[in-house]
């Protein structure tokens, strides 16, 4: 029954109990559907609850049970289609299991991530899903481990932190892309990522995103195997999101222009495509463009863009399933799930101009 009246506070179990003329405990049992209650009493309590417009207080319940039925998820940026999809995957399995998600954007910055983690822990989430801002700085993750809260990483791992993780085979994906380009005859291939990175890339360096690191690895080893000299000079990191276009333009101009570009995510592919278009360099005739992640528009451009696709929704879903399992008490040693990437060939690759 809908409640009217002004200035009343929310009805509590006590209120319901009083109206139903039973003890608080009995009312709680009937309302919370646990313990044993006779049918008659159950009805009376239910009726009283309806009459008072009783709404349970999940926080109070959490206080006494210790379970919040809430998961924390911290990602780079919900506007990035990758994270949006992964988050949806997570939200779906969470909702299915009766859990909610508290969402935080880190913008890939450790400080923001730290704050997000602290708040989530303070709110006593039952577990955390994190796409770590850095694979090199375990601090933020360590604090959730210290707090003894289950944690599952996704998209990237962080060496030294022993937790579950769900990632995809970036190295293999990069190999596929690179081989495709090599086979088409390319030798000057730029790999572009917005990953934050100090100074130019040097061979053997460990990157702050294991995902990008693995891609670079697959890229470099494939080039090296093919006998391409100094392949690391083709790795371009630290591109600002809004600077990718300029970078791409620069790579396409100059004395020794690249003939192919590998974009480390769909947003970069977008910028590269735009740069090419604006300088009237034709794809695939004058430039081959490939990338990671299959954005829905990639089949719409002329030509369509060849990519390796990852099961993004599933990344979030699997990570959440694993987290739920841990919350349920699974104590097996941490494992990292490696999902496959799949090549989707479209028209953006051809032999280099000369």
């Amino acid at each position: 029954m809908t409640e009217t009246g002004i200035g009343r506070r929310e009805a509590t179990v006590s209120d319901v109990a009083r109206l139903a003329r039973v003890s608080k405990a009995t009312a709680a049992r009937a309302l919370g559907d646990y313990g044993a209650v006779s049918d008659g009493v159950r009805d009376r309590v239910q009726k009283a609850a309806d009459e008072l417009g009783y709404r349970p207080n999940a926080l109070a319940r959490t206080m006494s049970t210790g379970r919040s039925h809430t998961l924390g998820i911290v990602i780079g940026d919900i506007e990035n289609p990758f994270f949006a999809k992964a988050t949806r995957g997570a939200a779906d399995v969470a909702a299915e299991a009766g859990y909610d998600l508290i969402l935080s954007n880190s913008d890939e910055e450790l400080a923001a991530e730290a704050k997000a983690v602290a708040v989530q822990l303070a709110k006593r989430v039952d577990g955390l899903l994190i796409a770590p801002a850095s694979s090199l700085a375990p601090g933020n993750l360590q604090s959730v481990l210290d707090a003894r809260r289950p944690l599952v990483l996704f998209d990237r791992t962080v060496p030294g932190v022993e937790v579950d993780a769900v990632i995809t085979d970036n190295r293999a994906g990069a190999r596929q892309l690179t081989e495709l380009l090599l086979k088409a005859g390319h030798r000057r291939i730029a790999f572009i990522s917005t990953l934050a990175h100090e100074g130019g890339f040097r061979a053997g360096e460990v990157l702050s995103s294991s995902a990008v690191g693995d891609r670079v690895l697959g890229f470099l080893e494939t080039l090296t195997e093919a006998g391409v000299p100094h392949p690391e000079s083709f790795v371009h990191l630290n591109a600002r999101r809004d600077g990718v276009e300029v970078l791409a333009a620069r790579l396409l101009g100059g004395a020794d222009p690249v003939t192919a570009i590998i974009a480390s995510d769909s947003l970069i592919a977008l910028a590269a495509f735009r740069a090419a278009r604006e300088r009237s360099v034709s794809i695939p005739d004058q430039l081959s463009l490939v990338g990671f992640d299959d954005a829905d528009w990639m089949s719409l451009t002329t030509p369509g863009i060849t990519v390796v696709e990852q099961p993004i929704h599933e990344i979030g879903a699997q990570a959440t399933r694993m987290l739920l399992r841990r919350i349920a008490g699974d104590a097996r040693p941490p494992e990292t799930t490696l999902l496959a990437q799949r090549l989707v060939e479209r028209g953006s690759v051809a032999a280099p101009a000369r």
Copy 2:
């Protein structure tokens, strides 16, 4: 200081107080930074807290203060770029103000929305941001009002529910698009939306999304003013997300094909573009395509797509600012903020073939 040891429970204010040799109240004051505490004591408490690895329990705090510093947001689908952007806008102003977001996807279904609202209320969010699944069914919103929780709607309003809302001028946007098409010489223009709707559209009908309703209104009135007969036959609702392509294909084939399409969101524009491409109907020569929302890929296709753009990030941001104001106690009568839409002309409009 990082804590070691197994099986210990989280440190509480009491623990800290004991170690610092002060009362619980004093420790709480020092930790929570309220009340008055002498410097010496403050230090001692802080040190004790560090030593124990004390992490505040935000739920307990909420229990006694009544404020959770958490906002609920319920949207259609976080994978939809529109909602992703609006959510980011909301998250940004929320974080700025020290609030978190609990996210729920309704898939535009009332039942899912009802459940989401119930859970959010149970978790005692300080306020809710909702893009209502239906402008016709006030029930879910009424329950948040009944719970006396501040509520701000965005993207659509629901007549009869007196609350704040942030929307954009869909009617004007639709007029602009329609006029553009009319001016180019089009007379057979299809308006496509995935909005759930029973049976064919009849003039004067109120739709379950005020946003789509306003667009249809602007569309119809502009056509009517131009003397186009039976314009309501051009309104196509209830398209399944994965059926838009077929629908578009059907509209382009048949005896009396449309010469222009207005897509009610970027996902529909995408599907329509693909349908045209697949049937080799050339845009803009054989089909003019326009739509709502400026997706980032729309400047990449050949031709680029003409749209009216809405300040999506700002929709979420403004809604959240308003919500925060209400939470702070602002009791002015509800107001609905109307943001402008802006025409972005690209190359997808031309005169019809014949």
